[in-house]
Amino acid sequence: MTGNHLIHTMWRATALGSLAVVAAACTALAGPGEPDFTIQLRTLNGSGVSGTVAFTYIQGGRTRVSVVVDPGTYPDMPAHIHPGTCDNLTPQPQYPLENVRNGTSTTVIPATVADLLANPVAVNLHASVSDLQTYTACADIVR
């Protein structure tokens, strides 16, 4: 092996090693982590939808909101975080969430867990895109 080849090979090895280290670091940072807290959804209107919503702090003052439900007969439910409580909900959402498709939804919202707990807010799920008026489940966000 010539000197040039040796240097080339060393450069390649160094570059690949660096990439592996960066990828591992990114994976660690973006990992799901343990939720800060989890709340139980209350079934509404006899929908049969039940499950949980987990809140996990992530860097940058954001929170990952993960909904996991038994969707019953509702495969695609719009979901939001609204001001107010389940019994007295402000119709205008504060944070839209990704639709709950086949029972799961994950959304990163621009608010901390402390922000969410500062005032009454609630997570609610709607029957479908075509039927936003019918709520299938709701949970007050309290610790």
Binding site: P78, P96, L97, E98, T107, V129, S130, L132
Partner: protein
């Protein structure tokens, strides 16, 4: 030899820069605010915007295309709130991203179905509605 290598590197860098610029330029295309297509063979581009500020409406709220047209529908969120565009009923599978931030846009592509009226909504804001009117196409002249 060193000067020759430097020159080669410079030429390569210039090539990469030019290719990047060319790619970026070809990505931007002007689109009309409303397309009323009658040619099903045409690729139809329809722009729907939201109202500005807190104005929760689609503009235009009704757009028309020809049956079987190849449609590209873009929602441009010009408001200060999060929106989306989701069809209901038979076109329910056609939707933009659920969360389109203010100033952002998203495009969906689909083939226009049979003639009829196909409603769409913003799932964040109840009552924010629009419709796609699919027109029948006559026989070629």
């Amino acid at each position: 030899v060193r000067r020759h290598r430097s020159l080669t590197v410079l030429i390569r860098l210039a090539g990469i820069l030019l290719a990047t610029l060319a790619g970026g330029c070809t990505g931007s295309t002007a689109t009309p605010a409303l397309a009323d297509a009658t040619d099903p063979r045409a690729r139809v581009t329809v722009d729907v915007e939201t109202g500005t500020g807190q104005d929760r409406r689609f503009a235009p709220a009704s757009v028309s295309v020809a049956a079987r047209a190849d449609v590209r529908l873009t929602l441009h969120n010009r408001s200060g709130e999060t929106h989306n565009l989701s069809f209901t009923g038979r076109l329910e599978h056609v939707r933009t991203r659920t969360i389109i931030e203010p100033g952002d846009r998203d495009t969906v592509s689909f083939v226009a179905p049979d003639p009829g009226v196909y409603p769409f909504v913003c799932t964040v804001h109840e009552g924010m509605n629009g419709e796609l009117r699919v027109e029948a196409v006559g026989p070629p002249p």
